[in-house]
């Protein structure tokens, strides 16, 4: 009896904790349907769809969203290529500076964002003849802080990689490049895609590093910061909700897909 109660106490706690995690998300989505009375969207007034229908009715919000997407896609592409190559080198090859390489990859992840942003800004400010603050400095900053996460994600997959498959391809007469293209890359693809999605999410979400290096450009978080002290239009909630819904649908699809393939694998045995 006592263990039964205990078991349910733990389950009840877990549900409460999950509710706590979901609460702000629910509030963001709920208030995207609110018709606020003043400039701030903090008190529930009445239900409306207007904010969704006219999501770009706020000066600057559309260009900020576009900038966020552009930076996100470009930085993710570049960082994914760079990071995957580094991961391949670290796992596949012996070289003398491997320890130092690992540290260099790990350091940006364990440095407070504000230090990353501030130090990059001093670089740009000291080399004004080369760099102008704006879209490209945001891009440079994003690639810098995403690369490490890509390396770590792809590396995890490479470590569990069955190298016999590559040996088999080589035995069947494939050269190194063919083997890489036809065997290694397809097998790595899920990890690379997962890493890229993570990178994109990090890029879209980043505020601190971007804020330091944005100059006059605005990504969506920088835009929100700029207006948060003056007014928070419900359109901000609309964009945030839309990003959340797209992300959660992709993630859910992934979970169900994994669940199904796991069950299928079990069935095959």
């Amino acid at each position: 009896m006592r263990t039964l109660v205990k078991r349910h106490v733990l389950t009840a706690y877990a549900m409460l904790a999950l509710a706590y995690l979901m609460l702000p998300i629910a509030v963001v989505i709920l208030f995207s349907f609110n018709r606020p009375a003043g400039r701030f969207n903090y008190v529930w007034q009445e239900f409306t769809l207007d904010n969704w229908l006219e999501w770009d009715d706020v000066l600057g919000i559309r260009s900020a969203v576009v900038t966020s997407l552009q930076v996100g896609v470009l930085a993710t592409l570049v960082a994914t290529v760079l990071g995957t190559l580094v991961a391949l080198a670290i796992v596949r090859h012996e070289f003398r500076s491997r320890g130092a390489t690992n540290i260099l990859v790990f350091l940006p992840m364990s440095t407070p964002e504000i230090v990353l942003g501030a130090s990059l800004l001093t670089l740009f400010l000291n080399l004004t003849s080369v760099f102008t603050l704006g879209f490209w400095t945001i891009f440079i900053a994003h690639v810098m802080f995403i690369v490490s996460y890509i390396v770590v994600t792809v590396k995890a997959r490479l470590i569990g990689f069955d190298r016999h498959l590559e040996e088999a391809a080589m035995d069947l007469g494939a050269n190194e490049w063919m083997t890489f293209r036809k065997v290694t890359l397809p097998l790595l693809a899920p990890a690379i895609v997962a890493a890229a999605l993570l990178g994109f999410a990090l890029s879209i979400d980043d505020f601190v590093i971007t804020y330091f290096n944005a100059g006059g450009s605005q990504t969506f978080p920088v835009f929100v910061w700029g207006i948060a002290r003056v007014a928070v239009p419900p359109q901000v909630n609309v964009v945030a909700s839309a990003i959340f819904i797209v992300a959660i649908v992709i993630a859910l699809a992934n979970v169900f897909w994994q669940h199904r393939s796991a069950r299928r694998a079990q069935g095959a045995v």
């Binding site: 609460l23 702000p24 963001v28 230090v115 505020f207 601190v208």
Partner: protein
Amino acid sequence: VPYLLLAPGLFWLAVFFLVPLGFLGYESLQSGIFPNFEFTWEFSNFSDALSDYREQFARSFLYAGIATVAALLLAYPLVYWIAFRAGPWRNLFLLFIVAPFFVSYLIRTLAWLNILADEGPVVGLLRGINVLGEGEGLLFTSLAVIAGITYNFFPFMALPLYVSLEQVDPRLLEAARDLYASPVQAFLRVTLPLSAPGIVAGTLLTFIPAAGDFINAELLGTPKQQMIGNVIQAKFLESLDYPTAASLSFVLMALILAALLVYARIVGTERLTG
């Protein structure tokens, strides 16, 4: 071959991570007023940074420390439940933990403004049961800032915890029970020590960004709750006092490093005696 693969990625990290740290150091030893700074080996910047902003440094570490402990206590039972009780749907529940990341950091912090507002449900409830008096609120207090930090960095605590708890072999627990350990003893002697790597990793991943945070103090607090991140941000971007901002950044990194060393010692000795 390895150097060819490494070159582009490491070049990027070297030029846009290491070199900037060098520039930050160079900046921190300058003196003067914007835009006329001069490199003068101004080491007093560091001692000034520490003495002028001792309060904000102390608050940053206090808030980050409390938030880290709170996140650990909140996350551990939840992650334990997911790892041992959630069955085949573990990945789904794990997704719930990461879900806050899909809402922009600033916006989920702004959502706490709605939740903790004086007209909101939480304050209403607390006033109803007389925890808060009329006219007392939660927003713009230290509590609100710490709660915001706890929430925002919760996934950084939960994920490494999950990774280590998931690897605990349930047979070890059965063995402990067979040897007449009570559930509590089995937890304390088997599960908890085995999850120690997750606790350590989660603590670091939560504490480091929390100590440098300024969003929560800015949105959920008042100038009385300012952390060192707020000062660095304002010095860099508003008052354009780069030398002070740069030396503050360095002192922050040094203090975090020192905290990590102390932590490593404690964890290390505990493991030795445990």
